[in-house]
Amino acid sequence: MAVCIAVIAKENYPLYIRSVPTQNELKFHYTVHTSLDVVEEKISAAGKAMADQRELYLGLLYPTEDYKVYGYVTNSKVKFVIVVDSSNTSLRDNEIRSMFRKLHNSFTDVMCNPFYNPGDPVQSKVFEGMVSGMMVQVS
């Protein structure tokens, strides 16, 4: 399961970041932020090819010694980033994909809320609960 899940706005500022509390939170912020380099590059490369039929799931962005960072971009250019521990080899690509799909669905629900102003930080409890379910459970 994930150690960090982030939602990034179209303009690349964070809408939501949640990481496992046991580790340095700032480090995850940096990891997510630096992964945007790769996301941007992938978007611009895909944008040239075919804008409408783009695959939303970007796959593994880059591996670090300790973590694997996966990316996903919605059609409105909102980015999802999931950071997984490198030692966690049980997670397959398909599972990451389904995590992203769940995240996307939940985020769509947030956007559908008439009281949510697009661009504001996400504070939905339902979303929070869904993310918690995807995080590594700290016992």
């Binding site: 912020h29 940096y30 380099d37 790769v38």
Partner: protein, 1119 residues
């Protein structure tokens, strides 16, 4: 040594080349030898064989060969690889020794020289080594082709015998012009010998294998594979070398690893891994290199070894990553392409990361107080180690437990003490900056920023605060624009500590202000602490130390701050906060985008503090683009009491001022806002323009998105109210609203060429006297340029204006206008072309008025525009007809004809035609003083006025081609206009008409009608118009409708200019329109003129009335 303990030995990193020793060359004193040596070592490009040459003395001692072991049975190896081994084979033990000797085949002292050479060969022979020896004879003469010089071949074989050489090892080097060519051939031959040597060496090492057993000789398996691989490399057989290195690598991991030999295993694994990666890159298989490296790291990551020396593991890991990064980078320089997600930067970054770990573990493990034990356990008798990766105090020891626990303890202590002195930060920074350079190249700006933050933090740890601040400052802006507040706060906190420790007042305050601002994610109590510190600094006091600073640094900083405090000058700071997110937000606006000059200009400045505690300020000032207004836009604390900003509340400051009349039409902009804080130290926060900061634009955008109605609760959100405040940084000063009415009366459309009258009436509704009323009237500028040529404006009704009158009459003075009074002005416009036009009437005046008690003299103006269409008043058409009113397509000289003109009014207003006249060119009128038939005729819309003129072309006119007729001039005006309105003269050109001469003219004289059975006399006049006598044949054809008397057929002669009359009496038989009997005329002398051409002059038909009674006759007469 401390840093370099982890460096890879240079002999490992270089490219191994066959080692060939050259002896017998005196390169210092002998020019020939020198030239030969230079030819060997100069220009060693890639196309030459890879050999490293060395000049050695003839009696040079080569390393002795140990006596070969005959059995490995009782042999226990002491380590994996000796430290000297690689260097020995690269630089000490040659593959081939070449003896240079000066000897010509025909040397007189051949025998002596031959034995001297043999002696020298004997001296260089290496005992026990397989090293080859070759002899090169340096000769002055060019040798003959092989086989021709019998003496040479005989002497060569004798020399070979004497020196115990094979024929292949004897070379001749003629010292002639083609030295380099010979040298290249020589070195190729040497290269072959070297290859053979290394081949035999490989065979030799391989042959040991059968003596080894798996239990005691595990180390030797690795050693031998490594040696074979290394020899293969020397032999330039890189494919096999890679194979053997791979085997060696898997063997090294099969070794029994325990705490005492872990370092040795890792060191050797690192060496072999380096070689493998290097060869993979060389073979252009970078993916293999990366895979090998990953495998290597995964295998070794957990092999930490002794916990007391954990820093050694991280140092080693760091080095692994660094050297792989360097290999990768080198491969890129040789043409490999890297990508964003796989570039050397990641390896440098990871190396830096391990170095940081190393620093942390070193800080934990190495106590500051420990002193180095004596004697130093790290000293060895030779000054170095015998085997790679072993401990100095127990070299060669291979069992699991250390031989002497006490020695082990002091040894570890010594290593820890050595580690303490390692400049970790320097190493980390160097690695980070390498990584930064790579990420810059591979388009990773955020990764680059992140690494720069790490560099900054490392500089902070290294106490180089200036450099730290420089780096942090540089990247802060990126995080700010991307709105990653958590990261920005972390960076700011580090920067704040730096500036505190340096006692840099301005930076300290700037960072404090941003950390107190809304972008900071700090907790309330931390903000509160920072604000207290900021207030202290503002009072010129020493702030409290930042937590997380080490105590010694803090005390030094406190001293620095005291010094700063003592400095009396330089206590004023100006801080530009626009590009930050400061703790006081400022927004300013003009209340309207434009103000009339007779209104006071209103301006509001909103301030809002985001810090936890109230903050006071002394002065707020706004500067405007026109500086004379600045004096009105200042608010200052009077005396002791300062103005207070309460957190979370918006304070509004309003300013009013009266604009100067000369600024009408200009824009006033806010150029800056300044807020003065402090007591003891004065800080001016300044915003450019009308406030706002790095985050406010986005907030305003979000506020506008949420601006949809939210029900009754919407007003209760002060947060949203602040965000929704929009900045209005400039305003226009526009002229006062005029209180006059301008009315235009006219009768559109305008008629072409007429003096079109527009009456303008101006009524004043002002309370004072409108002075100097001026009117500008005419064509509105900015229309089609041709219009200004075709439009003329005048005030003078007396005469028709001409081209000299302008299209626009500027500044017509109308005098002063008292309140409630009215003035009228007529303007006449003449348009000489049709189409729409826009006319402008601009009434300007000045008036005194008072604003806020100030008397000002303002200019007001009112513009009226009207669009007027110009149309043609009438259309004139004209046609030529004969005197019988039949249409003419040509006229005949000297014969009268009629010009008919039709004038069709297209004006919507009735027209009064005053007169009309003809201006003839060739023609003459038949009437001496023709009177206009249209005089004083009034034409309504659509009515037509016709007129006819009888014209004649006088004889003598040129009779071929067309002739101009002349012009038709109509004088007219609108019927509605007054009598003294000047008339408009419209000139219409008349059409041209073809003109011709005829030889014979005939016309008939007959009554206008006939009556059945009553005589109808018809007289034909025939004129000869030529200068010749004309013979004319005439005949009258019979007709059913008429009987007639007269000459039926006649031939006559008519003298020039004379006229002949023929009289016929016709007697009509039928009533109605009847064709007259046909008259046939022919001119034998002018065949061109016949009945057809003449018939047009003759009447064709006549109306015959029926025979009536007398009574009817009278009634007709009455009708």
């Amino acid at each position: 040594m401390s840093g370099s303990q982890w460096e890879l030995p240079p002999e490992l990193c270089c490219r191994p080349m066959a080692f060939v020793a050259l002896t017998g060359l005196d390169v210092t004193y002998n020019a020939v030898h020198r030239a030969i040596w230079d030819a060997f070592c100069a220009n060693r490009r890639a196309d030459r064989v890879p050999i490293s040459f060395k000049v050695l003395a003839g009696d040079h001692e080569y390393p002795k060969c140990r006596t070969k072991r005959t059995s490995y049975e009782w042999y226990i190896p002491k380590g994996i690889l000796k430290t000297g081994w690689m260097n020995k084979h690269l630089n000490l033990v040659p593959a081939l020794v070449v003896l240079f000797y000066e000897l010509d085949w025909d040397d007189p002292q051949w025998k002596e020289k031959q034995s001297e050479c043999a002696t020298k060969v004997e001296i260089v022979s290496l005992q026990g080594r397989n090293t080859k020896v070759a002899v090169v004879l340096i000769q002055k003469k060019t040798p003959l082709p092989p086989g021709e010089d019998l003496v040479a071949s005989e002497r060569a074989s004798s020399l070979c015998n004497a020196c115990d050489l094979s024929g292949k090892s004897l070379f001749v080097l003629p010292h002639t012009d083609h030295l380099v060519g010979y040298i290249i051939r020589l070195e190729n031959a040497f290269y072959e010998h070297a290859q053979t040597y290394y081949y035999t060496e490989i065979r030799r090492v391989k042959s040991h294998k059968e003596f080894l057993n798996k239990t005691t000789h595990q180390l030797l398996f690795v050693r031998h594979q490594f040696k074979i691989a290394f020899f293969s490399e020397l032999k330039q057989d890189t494919q096999n070398a890679l194979k053997y290195y791979r085997t060696a690598y898997s063997l090294v991991h099969e070794l029994r690893a325990h705490e005492t030999n872990m370092l040795e295993i890792k060191t050797m694994a690192g060496f072999i891994n380096y070689k493998i990666c290097r060869l993979c890159f060389q073979h252009n298989t970078p993916l293999d290199a990366i895979a090998q490296f990953r495998k290597h790291i995964d295998l070794c990551k957990k092999k930490i070894g002794s916990a007391d020396l954990a820093f050694e593991h991280t140092a080693w890991m760091s080095k692994q990553f660094q050297s792989f990064g360097e290999l990768f980078d080198e491969a890129i320089k040789l043409g490999l392409t890297a990508i964003q997600t796989q570039n050397p930067g990641f390896y440098y970054q990871q190396a830096a990361c391990y170095s940081q770990d190393r620093k942390l573990t070193a800080q934990q493990l190495c106590q500051a107080g420990a002193v180095c034990p004596i004697p130093d356990p790290l000293d060895t008798p030779t000054g170095g180690l015998d085997f790679y990766g072993q401990r100095a105090w127990r070299q060669g020891h291979q069992s699991i437990d250390p031989p002497d626990p006490e020695k082990e303890r002091t040894g570890i202590l010594a290593l820890q003490i050595k580690e303490r002195d390692v400049p970790h930060s320097e190493l980390i920074i160097a690695l980070l900056s390498n990584a930064v350079a790579q990420f810059k190249k591979y388009k990773c700006p955020r990764m680059k920023s992140h690494l720069m933050v790490q560099m900054g933090e490392e500089y902070y740890h290294a106490k180089d605060y200036t450099k730290a601040l420089k780096l942090l400052d540089y990247v802060m802006c990126d995080y700010r624009t991307e709105r990653w507040w958590a990261l920005l706060t972390a960076i700011l906190s580090t920067a704040l500590r730096c500036s505190y420790l340096m006692a840099n007042v301005k930076d300290y305050m700037t960072y404090c202000m941003e950390l107190l601002g809304r972008a900071s994610t700090l907790k309330e109590e931390q903000k509160s602490r920072i604000e207290k510190n900021l207030l202290k600094v503002l009072k010129n006091e020493v702030p409290d130390a930042e937590p997380d600073c080490e105590p010694s640094g803090s005390s030094a900083a406190a001293a620095l701050w005291k010094d700063r405090m003592a400095l009396s000058g330089s206590n004023e700071f100006s801080i530009e906060v626009q590009d930050y997110v400061p703790f006081i937000q400022c927004k300013a606006r003009f209340l309207a985008p434009s103000f009339h000059v007779d209104q006071p200009i209103q301006l509001q400045v909103f301030l809002r503090a985001d810090c936890p505690h109230p903050i006071s300020f002394n002065k707020l000032s706004v500067s405007l683009s026109n500086q004379c207004y600045n004096q009105w836009c200042v608010v200052e604390a009077s005396g002791q009491d300062t103005m207070l900003l309460t957190p979370g509340e918006t304070s509004c400051f309003s300013f009013n001022f009266v604009a100067k009349t000369q600024d009408v039409g200009k824009k006033i902009e806010m150029t800056g806002i300044e807020l003065m804080l402090g007591s003891g130290r004065w800080v001016f926060l300044s915003w450019r323009g009308a406030g706002g900061d790095a985050a406010s634009a986005h907030e305003a955008l979000q506020a506008s998105r949420s601006a949809r109605p939210r029900g009754p609760g919407a007003g209760a959100r002060p947060e949203g109210a602040w965000d929704a405040l929009t900045i209005q940084h400039s305003t226009m000063i526009i002229s006062r609203v005029p209180k006059i009415s301008v009315q235009l009366s006219h009768q559109p459309p305008a008629l072409n060429n007429e003096m079109y009258c527009i009456t303008l009436s101006i009524q004043s509704q002002e309370e004072g006297v409108a002075r100097e009323v001026r009117l500008t009237a005419g064509l509105k500028p900015g229309q089609d340029a041709n219009l200004s040529q075709a439009t003329h404006v005048t005030l003078d009704r007396g005469q028709v204006c001409d081209a000299s009158d302008p299209a626009l009459l500027p500044d017509i003075p109308l005098g002063d206008l008292n309140p409630g009074h009215k003035v009228e002005q007529r303007v006449y416009v003449r348009c000489v072309s049709t189409g729409p036009r826009v006319f402008l009437f601009h009434v300007a005046y000045s008036i005194n008025t008072s604003v806020d008690g100030q008397e000002i003299d303002c200019n007001c103006h009112k513009d009226e525009t009207i669009a007027i269409e110009t149309v043609e008043p009438f259309e004139v058409s004209s046609k030529f007809v004969s005197t019988k009113l039949e249409p003419l397509d040509r006229v005949v000289v000297d014969i009268p004809f009629v010009l008919m003109t039709d004038l069709l009014s297209s004006s919507p207003w009735p027209l009064l035609l005053h007169s009309s006249s003809l201006q003839l060119v060739t023609m003459a009128t038949c009437t001496p003083h023709p009177l206009s038939q249209l005089e004083q005729v009034v034409l309504q819309t659509g009515e037509c006025a016709s007129e006819c003129f009888c014209l004649q072309c006088p004889s003598g006119a040129e009779a071929n081609g067309t002739v101009a007729t002349g012009q038709y001039v109509i004088s007219w005006r609108r019927e509605s206009s007054s009598l003294d309105t000047p008339l408009v003269h419209t000139t219409v050109p008349l059409p041209h008409i073809p003109l011709e001469n005829i030889p014979l003219y005939i016309h008939a004289e007959l009554p206008s009608f006939g009556r059945v059975r009553e005589t109808l006399p018809v007289r034909y006049h025939i004129e000869n118009r030529t200068a010749l006598v004309q013979q004319v044949e005439m005949a009258v054809e019979p007709s059913d409708a008429f009987m007639f008397s007269g000459l039926k057929q006649v031939r006559l002669h008519i003298l020039p200019g004379a006229e002949q009359q023929m009289l016929y009496n016709y007697y009509p038989l039928m009533a109605g329109y009847q064709s007259l009997p046909q008259l046939n005329i022919s001119l034998p002398r002018c065949p061109a003129t016949d009945t057809h051409t003449l018939r047009r002059f003759l009447p064709q038909r006549i109306f015959v009335k029926p025979q009536g009674r007398e009574l009817d006759d009278a009634s007709i007469a009455a009708a």
